[in-house]
C-alpha cells in the first residue's frame, strides 16, 4: 500500500516532471537528435569525457586482470586454438604473397596505377558504455575527424556499427546488433539485409535469393549499402535456408561481440561525405572536412 499525506505536493511534482519528460522526448524525436537537445548532449558528454577517460585508464587494467584470472582455463584452450589458426594463416599468407607478387608483375606489364581511394582510418579506444545500453563511447571525436554516420569496424576489419553522436573528444557508436536499421549485405552473389533482433546478438538475414544459403556462408557488406563500404565481413550464416518466392530468411551470427571491444577503427567513408559544414575543420587522420560539433542522429538508410 502506498502512503500519502494531505497537503503533500509530491504527486503534482511527479505529474509536472512526467509532462516535462514527455515534452523532452517529443522534442528530441522531432529534432532527430539535433538542435538544442543535440547541443545539450554534446556539452554534457564533453564535460564528462575527461572523467571517463581517466576512469577507463584506471579501470581497464584491473578488469583485464580479473578477466584473465577468472578465464584462465578458457584462455589456455583459446590459446591452443589460436596457435593452430596462426599456423594456418601463415601458410595462407605465403600463398597470398605469391599472388601479390604476380599481381605486381601484371601491374607493371600493363602499367596500372592505384586509384588512391584508400579509406582513412582512425583508431579509437572504447572508454565506456552508457548504462544498460548497447552503444559504446570512444575517445575520439570531431577533433580527430570523426563525423556522424561514419562506419566503425574492429581491428580485424569486421563490421561493428556506425557513429551515432560525436563531440569534440568523444563519439558514441551504435553497433549493428542494436542499431535501429538494417545493413545491406551480400552472401555470395545474392543481396539482402541483416537486421538486429530484440534480446539477442544474432541478426536476421533477409535475402532476395534464388539459391539456398548454408551454415558457415560468409555475410559481407554489399555495394548497395549507404552506411558501409562494400566487402566488409559482418558475420556468418548459422542455419541453412532455401528460398521461397525468391526470398529467404535465416539467422546470422556477427563476427563481433561489441561488449568485448576495447579498440575500434572508424572509417572515413564515404571518402568525401556530403555533410552540412558550418565551421570546417581539417582532420588529423583523414582528409575529411567535418563540422566543429555534430550531434545529429545517424540516418539508417539501409534496408
Amino acid at each position: 500500500m502506498l502512503s500519502r499525506q494531505p497537503g503533500d505536493r509530491t504527486f503534482p511534482t511527479l505529474i509536472t516532471l512526467l509532462v516535462l519528460g514527455l515534452l523532452l522526448m517529443t522534442f528530441d524525436v522531432r529534432s532527430e537528435g539535433g538542435g538544442v537537445t543535440g547541443l545539450l548532449r554534446t556539452g554534457t558528454q564533453s564535460m564528462v569525457a575527461p572523467l571517463q577517460k581517466g576512469a577507463a585508464f584506471v579501470v581497464n587494467p584491473v578488469v583485464d586482470v580479473i578477466d584473465s584470472l577468472t578465464n584462465v582455463a578458457t584462455l589456455r584452450e583459446q590459446n591452443r586454438a589460436l596457435q593452430q589458426d596462426l599456423a594456418e594463416a601463415q601458410a595462407a599468407l605465403v600463398a597470398v604473397d605469391d599472388d601479390l607478387a604476380r599481381l605486381e608483375l601484371y601491374e607493371q606489364l600493363y602499367r596500372l596505377e592505384a586509384t588512391g581511394t584508400a579509406i582513412g582510418r582512425t583508431v579509437a579506444q572504447v572508454i565506456g558504455q552508457p548504462a544498460l545500453e548497447g552503444s559504446l563511447i570512444i575517445d575520439k571525436g570531431t577533433a580527430d575527424g570523426i563525423v556522424v554516420g561514419q562506419p566503425v569496424v574492429d581491428t580485424s576489419g569486421y563490421v561493428v556499427g556506425t557513429v551515432e553522436q560525436v563531440t569534440v573528444g568523444t563519439a558514441t557508436i551504435v553497433p549493428i546488433t542494436v542499431g535501429p536499421g538494417g545493413v545491406a549485405v551480400a552472401v555470395g552473389a545474392q543481396v539482402g539485409v541483416v537486421m538486429p533482433q530484440i534480446d539477442t546478438n544474432i541478426m536476421r538475414l533477409e535475402l532476395d535469393a534464388e539459391e539456398p544459403v548454408f551454415i558457415g556462408d560468409r555475410v559481407v557488406t554489399s555495394s548497395g549499402s549507404v552506411r558501409f563500404p562494400a566487402g566488409y565481413p559482418v558475420g556468418e550464416v548459422i542455419a541453412d535456408a532455401a528460398p521461397t518466392n525468391d526470398t529467404l530468411s535465416t539467422e546470422v551470427e556477427p563476427y563481433v561481440q561489441p561488449d568485448t571491444l576495447r579498440v575500434v577503427v572508424v572509417l572515413a567513408w564515404p571518402p568525401d561525405p556530403i555533410t552540412a559544414v558550418t565551421e570546417p575543420t581539417t582532420t588529423t587522420t583523414t582528409s575529411t572536412t567535418v563540422p566543429a560539433s555534430t550531434t545529429a542522429s545517424t540516418s539508417e538508410g539501409d534496408g
Binding site: 502506498l2 509530491t10 514527455l22 545539450l40 558504455q129
Partner: protein, 167 residues
C-alpha cells in the same frame, strides 16, 4: 538543502555516472544500475520529497544526455521509481535485509519501466542482447549494493551518524 549537501549529492551522482559508464559497463554478471540505485537511496534520506523527485529527474536526464537513447526517457522512469520509493520508504528502514529487498524491487520496477517505455518509443539500443537477463541481474546487483552501502549513504547525505543503525 545546504551547500555541503548539494556538493555531496552532486559528487555522489557524478561518481555513479562515471563508474556506471566505465567499470560496470565491462562486467557481465555484476551489472548494477548505479544511478538508479542512488536515486532509490535518496528516498531513504531526509531530503524533501519534491527535491528527491527533481534529483531523480535530473539524474535520469544526465544519463540520457550521456547515452544514445531518446532524451527524457530515463528522466521519466527514474522520477516514477523515486515516487514509488517515497511512497513506500516507511516500510524499508526496518532492517538491512528489508532495505535491500525494497531496493531490489524498486530497481526491478525501474528496469521493467525502462524496457516498456523503450519499446513504446522504439529505442532499440535499450533492447539489445541480454535484455531479459537485465530483469534479474540489475535488481540483484542493486540489492547487494544497497545491503552494504544504504546506511552509509543515508548517514553521508543526512550527515547524521545515528541514522540507519537498525536498533
Amino acid at each position: 538543502m545546504r551547500m555541503r549537501s548539494v556538493i555531496i549529492v552532486g559528487l555522489i551522482l557524478l561518481l555513479a555516472v562515471v563508474l556506471q559508464t566505465t567499470l560496470f559497463s565491462q562486467t557481465t554478471l555484476f551489472t548494477p544500475d548505479l544511478v538508479l540505485l542512488v536515486v532509490i537511496m535518496f528516498c531513504l534520506t531526509r531530503l524533501r520529497p519534491e527535491l528527491i523527485l527533481a534529483l531523480a529527474f535530473m539524474s535520469g536526464l544526465a544519463v540520457d544526455l550521456l547515452g544514445s537513447a531518446v532524451l527524457g526517457l530515463r528522466a521519466m522512469v527514474f522520477t516514477m521509481v523515486a515516487y514509488l520509493g517515497i511512497r513506500t520508504r516507511e516500510r524499508a528502514d526496518v532492517g538491512r535485509i528489508i532495505t535491500g529487498v525494497w531496493t531490489g524491487l524498486l530497481t526491478l520496477a525501474g528496469v521493467v519501466l525502462l524496457i516498456l517505455v523503450g519499446t513504446l518509443f522504439n529505442q532499440t539500443v535499450l533492447l539489445g542482447e541480454g535484455v531479459t537477463d537485465r530483469l534479474y541481474l540489475v535488481p540483484i546487483a542493486n540489492t547487494v549494493l544497497a545491503l552494504i552501502f544504504a546506511p552509509l549513504f543515508v548517514r553521508l547525505v543526512d550527515r547524521d551518524t545515528t541514522a540507519f543503525r537498525y536498533v
